[in-house]
């Protein structure tokens, strides 16, 4: 094992949160090293010829190599555990830029009540409203505190959208339920697909409030404050699970990484995999150990270790890094690492066949749709409902490629034959005549839902896989049933010739892709008794280790996570830059 030259800050991976820290800290004069398990890559040349759904969508070319490391799962603590051998439920990324290269760009702010969830529900409905066995808690940060960072992130990456609430004034055409923003979106919204227009009309007829999906994809050419010049979206239809060949999709490699590199104080070491955080006297972190490109172990000393390798890696590293001071892992002195693991609902609820129409849904991307928030969070009254929470309903995503869609046809409740001449004729006539309404909804934390180290299965580094114990609970089934009825009504209003609605939620399975929004496991809170870190992601019991990303979320709201984990990273990186090094053993307040 060789010992590398010490740096100020070492980050696990070079994904989006690591890139944000790198930009802010190098600007402040610190040197930052990102140790990234995957390859280096840029729009040019790496994404210039990737319009190959077999390689990128079906075979998961950009995802973490499961041959090397996967995650195991069981539905509950009594059930058997098996590893996820091939991709299913989620698609974490590897390579510079992380999953934020192949993300979909749906860019959200959370609602004000997402931040004080427990207090909000108890005040409005009383203590008994929250489901049994829950671990719901308020965030240690408010929407108001985060608003300036939301604003900066959205202007830094160029978010496209229709403003709905500008400083408390509700504006026509936007999301009337959004929290107040201090400036409008920097860019107008993206185009939406034909069924999305039909959807918006149907929603308005039913009294709902449709608006276009806010997107981390440029609707027009944009130059950011660092001078990155980027093209507007070409609607090519190869977006989620691909890198963007024209840099229209916001990715770390066309936003934060170039200015960080330009300082000369940022290094990315690709094809290198961190296997543990090293601990020294007094339980402080001294750096990390990683396996380099040649398969050799290397030691990397650093003053600060940033766990920024996505939810699963972050929790696994905390649990694997042990010393006499931390016998159960970093941050785990109170046994809280792995708790509050939550996920997200993402289900195609209702499908409509519009015979005779051809929607060209292979164009566009996964942010070219309309959305309603009328059943999000506590926007609607839950007094007479048998659940808390909600989510967004939207229709209909673009970039619908045949490999991922013909298999689910025909659209029928009777289980029509899905092979043979009849099926072929059906595909010919109807492949591109299908609209869907999708539900993305919140996921709550429970006592029997957590992450820990697998006692049997190991990764290639010889250390245990991270194990997920997770299934839906009664609140989820009740919420889904209610939402599915609403989706069914909207689809009916859209006027399809045939319609299929999945009325009940199936138990969770790890087989089907749902979303790459696993959250929690290293949550932030107000004190070491209720959380692993403070609001900056600083680990209570090891103050020179910081955690980033959605692992910090106490529970997961009903929209995608990145729009909020990025502003959190801004806030934490500034706190480190401006205040941490004066007193590196102190918890920041």
């Amino acid at each position: 094992m060789a010992i590398q030259k010490k740096v100020d800050v070492v980050t696990v991976g070079a994904g989006w949160t690591a890139a944000i820290f790198a930009q802010i800290l190098t600007e402040g004069g610190y040197n930052v090293l990102s140790i990234e398990q995957g390859p280096m890559r840029w729009a040019n040349p790496d994404f210039k010829h990737n319009h190959d759904p077999l390689r990128y969508h079906i075979r998961h070319a950009m995802m973490v190599n499961l041959g090397r490391e996967t995650w195991s799962w069981r539905p509950n603590p009594k059930a058997p555990t098996l590893p996820m051998r091939q991709y299913g439920s989620f698609n974490p990324g590897q390579g510079v830029g992380g999953a934020a290269i192949h993300w979909s760009g749906m860019n959200w702010r959370f609602l004000e009540s997402d931040f004080n969830y427990r207090t909000h529900y108890i005040e409005r409905y009383g203590e008994n409203k929250l489901p049994a066995g829950n671990r719901i808690q308020d965030w240690p940060v408010t929407y108001k505190e985060l608003e300036p960072y939301y604003d900066r992130f959205e202007y830094d990456i160029g978010v496209s959208g229709q403003t709905g609430n500008l400083n408390g004034v509700i504006l026509e055409g936007g999301n009337p339920f959004e929290a107040p923003r201090s400036r409008p979106y920097p860019l107008p919204p993206l185009e939406v697909t034909i069924p999305s227009v039909i959807y918006a009309d149907a929603c308005r007829e039913l009294g709902y409030h449709p608006f276009p999906q806010p997107a981390g994809i440029l609707s027009q050419a944009y130059q950011d404050r660092w001078g990155n010049v980027r093209s507007g979206c070409l609607y090519c239809g190869f977006c989620t699970r691909y890198g963007c060949e024209v840099d229209a999709k916001s990715m770390p490699v066309n936003t934060h990484i170039p200015p960080a590199l330009r300082t000369g104080r940022y290094e990315i070491r690709a094809h290198s995999k961190v296997i543990r955080v090293n601990l020294g006297p007094g339980g402080r972190a001294t750096g990390v150990t990683y396996i380099d490109e040649q398969g050799q172990e290397q030691e990397q000393p650093a003053d600060v270790v940033l766990l920024s390798g996505f939810t699963f890696t972050n929790v696994r590293m905390l649990l694997l890094s042990r010393s006499d001071d931390h016998p159960n892992g970093i941050g785990n002195d109170q046994g809280l690492v792995g708790k509050n693991y939550t996920y997200q609902h993402w289900h195609g609820v209702s499908t409509g066949l519009f015979e005779g129409r051809r929607f060209n849904l292979y164009m566009g991307n996964t942010s070219t749709q309309n959305v309603i928030f009328d059943f999000q969070a506590d926007v609607f009254d839950h007094s007479d409902l048998d659940f808390v929470g909600g989510g967004m309903l939207f229709s209909t995503l673009g970039e619908r490629d045949p490999l991922a869609s013909v298999g689910s046809l025909p659209v029928t409740d009777e289980g029509g034959k899905n092979w043979g001449q009849g099926w072929k004729d059906y595909l010919r006539q109807n492949w591109d005549s299908v609209a869907t309404i999708v539900f993305q909804g919140e996921s709550l934390p429970y006592e029997d839902q957590f992450l820990d180290l697998d006692p049997v299965y190991k990764a290639a580094d010889g250390q245990p896989l991270l194990r997920l114990t997770f299934d839906w609970h009664q609140n989820d089934y009740n919420m889904y049933r209610f939402i599915a009825q609403r989706a069914d009504e909207i689809m009916k209003q859209m006027g399809p010739t045939r319609q299929k609605t999945t009325k009940e939620l199936d138990p969770y399975n790890i087989h089907k892709y749902q979303s790459t929004h696993p959250t929690g496991g290293a949550i932030m809170g107000t004190d070491p008794g209720n959380s692993v870190t403070n609001k900056y992601g600083q680990v209570w019991d090891t103050p020179n280790v910081f955690v980033t990303g959605a692992a910090l979320y106490p529970q997961n709201p009903g929209v995608n996570p990145t729009g909020t984990l990025a502003p959190l990273a801004y806030m934490a990186a500034e706190a480190i830059r401006d205040r941490f090094f004066r007193n590196p053993d102190r918890i920041l307040v």
Partner: protein
């Protein structure tokens, strides 16, 4: 972020290729190029170490220790070949197996020369070449034991019983689907065993091998398989093997023609999908029906003609213009 790249020809193997290396070697003979890192120093940017090399060609299947170059141990997803692999060179199937796959898939997506289906699209060729790479695992797969075995009823078999001499995780038959792909068999083994079971079931119920039956008889066999009612299938089950055939038929029919199926883009023409396009206008998005004739990867315009575009993706650097359809 410099555009400077050093094109290097991947060294050619002197050894005779074994079956499963053929696809990749074919690519390298045609000039499989790679980017040799990123020469960022020239523009005064920070340091970026670690460079890109083509995917490794071999996997051992078992979980190796990390003492050899990491990318040699864990193959990445292969790139599309530059030109479709030849249908008349089988890399995995025997001729009889290939004919059986062709006959099976031709019932899933039937066709005629005027209205092409799986046979005309070359699906058997697609699946044969899929089997040629890494035991048929096109995507990285976690392959460490113990594997699952299913049981019916309420209680799992005694863990210590002699039938559990191999380490096994017992999972209820009703629950196993929730866990996704859990087969101990490689895709190659799945095809080899599945095709054998198809023929023995065909012989048992109709008196000859699958390929020699009438289309109606073949349909009955597929029907029985799809419903899990065909006997004699053990591992893979009839239902699983049918699902596998159907999935691979879909993938071969609708993936880029470079993979050996979807010949002449017949799959895309069938459903009205224009394939690999670079751009659509807002007007296109709001238009119904075709706006563009289909285009494959090989037909795509280069971003920077004359300059290597994505140098580690297998595309011809020139000559794309002539292949583009008139429109």
């Amino acid at each position: 972020m410099s555009d400077e790249k050093i094109p290097t020809e991947k060294p050619q193997s002197e050894e005779k290729p074994t079956g499963h290396e053929v696809t990749l070697l074919l690519m390298s003979r045609r000039g499989f190029l790679r980017a040799a890192g990123f020469a960022v120093a020239a523009t005064g940017l920070g340091v970026v170490t670690g460079c890109d090399t083509p995917p490794a060609e071999e996997s051992t299947g078992a979980l190796p220790t990390e003492t050899v170059p990491v990318r040699a141990q864990y193959p990445e997803v292969p790139y599309a070949p530059i030109v479709p692999p030849p249908a008349d060179v089988l890399v995995f199937f025997s001729p009889h197996e290939a004919q059986t796959v062709e006959a099976l898939t031709a019932r899933i997506l039937p066709g005629t020369p005027d209205d092409p289906g799986a046979r005309e699209a070359g699906i058997a060729n697609y699946i044969d070449k899929l089997m040629g790479f890494n035991e048929g695992f096109a995507e990285p797969t976690y392959r460490q034991a113990p594997y699952a075995q299913t049981y019916e009823g309420d209680t799992p078999p005694d863990q210590a019983s002699p039938s559990n001499q191999y380490q096994t995780v017992w999972v209820s038959k009703d629950e196993i689907d929730r866990y996704g792909f859990q087969s101990l068999l490689t895709p190659r083994e799945i095809y080899r065993a599945g095709l054998k079971s198809v023929d023995s079931f065909a012989n048992q119920t109709a008196g000859s091998n699958f390929v020699d039956l009438s289309e109606d008889q073949q349909d009955q066999i597929l029907e029985a398989m799809s419903k899990g009612e065909a006997s004699g299938f053990d591992n893979p089950s009839a239902k699983d093997f049918f699902a596998r055939l159907r999935d691979d038929t879909i993938n071969g029919m609708f993936a880029d023609p470079a993979y050996g199926g979807n010949r002449d883009m017949v799959g895309w023409k069938l459903i009205g999908y224009p394939g690999a396009q670079r751009a659509y206008t807002p007007h296109d998005i709001h238009t119904e029906g075709p706006v563009r004739p289909p285009q494959s990867l090989a037909m795509m315009h280069q971003f920077h003609p004359g300059q290597l575009a994505n140098s580690h993706v297998a595309v011809p650097v020139s000559g794309t213009e002539e292949q583009r359809p008139e429109h």
